[in-house]
Symmetry: C2
Subunit: 131 residues, 2 copies
DNA sequence: TGGCGGAATAGACTATGTCTAAAACACGAC
DNA sequence: GTCGTGTTTTAGACATAGTCTATTCCGCCA
């Protein structure tokens, strides 16, 4: 995937630091926290500052390349899967799994009086099974 | 409601501090953060320490009188409504509303291969209407 | 070469939450 | 009553997440 062009097409001025962050976070299949991204990007590019990582992640969110999800205590995680979907959280490991939108059906949300629902998702918690 | 007996029945040694915390958080219809509880309890009982409020809230959770919910960035909120239900978050005000379990139906979660789902809820985001 | 504007940097700052060591307290044995 | 043991409370240190600010850096254009 050509992250450089992806960035340009979304109106993001590419810089080496931004590219390093974007490449890491967009290719990660896990749901990373900002500091975890910083940790990893620094391995390739040890001079990158924490502020730049935070700024870049927030920029990627604003430009629609990334979404934030509130699934863990105390921290936001970044999800490169930007289309609507659900989440499963393993209560032991903390690991987060994407659940395809069509795997679960929700009904009744449209009939709620007094609430203008713009988006929703199901959050499931439990244990991942061997298979 | 007799919070004192409620605590005793749940195996919590009552103390003045614990009682003050429990009375506040159990009667609140809003979803409070720990520091918000501290703030309020201190108005009645100015010597209570932050650690005690945190300890008490965690104890109430452990004993099943309270639940934590992960709905806002950066902080946990405490919910005195311990039975299963869903949540609506107003994206402007940040206010959280409980949605009764029966108002929304979810299907398909039992058929997920490889996931042992212990609990789930729907999180809705949007705007509360005047109504 | 000089200047301009955006980006990156270090570090300060705030907030949430946990932990630790010491003091306070409750309660039973004597 | 006094002592000793347990548990609770307390203040403050610590850890982590996240934002902000002031300065430096860098690319680009005249």
């Amino acid at each position: 995937m050509d992250v450089l062009n992806l960035m340009r097409r979304h109106g993001i001025q590419p810089t080496p630091q931004r590219l390093a962050v974007a490449e890491h976070v967009l290719s990660a299949r896990a749901h990373l926290t900002a500091d975890r991204v910083w940790e990893r990007v620094r391995r390739k590019c040890p001079t990158v500052s924490r502020a730049t990582v935070y700024n870049t992640l927030n920029l990627l969110v604003k430009k629609g390349l990334l979404r934030t999800q509130i699934l863990k205590e105390g921290t936001v995680v970044f999800d490169s899967h930007v289309e609507a979907h659900h989440h499963f959280v393993d209560v032991q490991t903390g690991r987060i799994y994407d659940i395809p939108w069509n795997a679960i059906r929700v009904s009744g949300h449209a009939a709620l009086r007094g609430f203008d629902v713009r988006e929703y998702q199901v959050i499931l918690r439990g244990r991942r099974r061997a298979k």
